[in-house]
């Protein structure tokens, strides 16, 4: 890990965090003013995550995906959030898994790609750039990644909130995904919620 405070924001941040141009321009300034308290860069090279950005409102969403144990400790009883606009922090399944597991976990990747094929995402691969998937496919992959990781770490008693996820998915895939979640949640004491018009609803 590498402390990078106050330096020019690197180009790959824009790609990995999907921060718009105008926001990118603010990062060095915010860093100097102390608004960004830390900018941590993980290796290998193209991977990174940000901690302590107070102005980027959805940061909890993607931090949640990357540090499940830490999140559960810190926000006990709160929701783990999957939000359509911030599904991933890196650019491929391999990189996501590396961040989560701190290793190149091929069996875990295999489970995700196999599950993806059930949703007709046939050209899925560990190296394929997320930007080449459709929005709905990315939403499905994020759900599968989360389920696979929860299973791998034997996490139980979680409240999972899907925000703008199910509405991004076609009717057929939505039914498949909800069936998969039902089966998954029932044996792990996991509750599934969605947000609609500002209200959180328990669906499983």
């Amino acid at each position: 890990m590498h402390h990078n405070q106050g330096r020019q924001a690197p180009d790959y941040l824009r790609k990995t965090l999907q921060i718009p141009e105008a926001m990118m321009a603010l990062i060095p300034l915010c860093s100097r003013l102390g608004i960004i308290s830390r900018l941590n860069v993980c290796f290998p090279g193209s991977l990174c995550y940000i901690a302590g950005i107070s102005f980027y409102g959805r940061v909890t969403s993607f931090m949640a995906i990357y540090n499940l144990n830490g999140l559960l400790d810190k926000y006990n009883g709160e929701f783990l959030i999957l939000e359509f606009n911030h599904l991933f922090i890196s650019s491929s399944i391999r990189e996501e898994v590396w961040l989560l597991q701190r290793k190149n976990d091929s069996p875990l990747i295999g489970k995700i790609t196999q599950a993806a094929r059930e949703f007709d995402i046939h050209e899925v691969s560990d190296e394929r750039d997320f930007e080449t998937y459709s929005g709905g496919q990315k939403a499905i992959l994020a759900c599968l990644l989360t389920m696979t990781l929860i299973d791998d770490r034997k996490i139980r008693g979680l409240k999972l909130l899907l925000n703008n996820i199910l509405d991004s998915i076609s009717e057929e895939n939505r039914s498949k995904l909800i069936r998969k979640f039902k089966e998954f949640c029932s044996t792990r004491d996991i509750k599934l919620f969605t947000e609609k018009n500002g209200h959180i609803q328990e669906i499983i």
């Binding site: 105008a22 007709d120 080449t132 459709s134 929005g135 496919q137 991004s168 076609s170 057929e172 939505r174």
Partner: protein, 176 residues
Amino acid sequence: MEIRKGKYRLENRNLNFDIVDDLNFNNSGGCFYFRGGNGFGKTSFLEKIIIPALKTDNLSYLYIGQDIRTQLYTLRALLSIQGFKVSDTDEVELLRLWIDHSQSASVLILDEFDKYFPDYGFIFDWSDAFIRTYIIVTHREMNCREAVANHHRICNARFELINIDGRLKNIRVRNE
């Protein structure tokens, strides 16, 4: 604007579109819906076929993409540069300001906007004085979609993207 029937290939997405009939986004206005499965290329069809055709015809358009919350950061910056005080403005008001100050546009494209705002009739209220053509990508059922547009007396045409042969990503674009 018209997109002629025929085959269109998008190399970088490995997608082949077969447009069965000419798509007429005619000058009299209307609301054109596109729907189809995940990965069938709805957004690619917008960005690689429809928007280039709009540019060719020099038609000014507004495009609200799927990742609206990311786009809103850009809108906030854009409006700030234009002199609006938007630091405490909510996302609906941001959109209203942007649309209200984009009256040179005649086409409005919404890509799955309804997943953020299920009742998005306000978009028509704000824009029907100058927008003649609405192009909307959605996963919603027909009755929900039509209810919103019919309320605003806009005639509908509906197109469906269907996968012809599974893995080869050959997509037929046809009128529903």
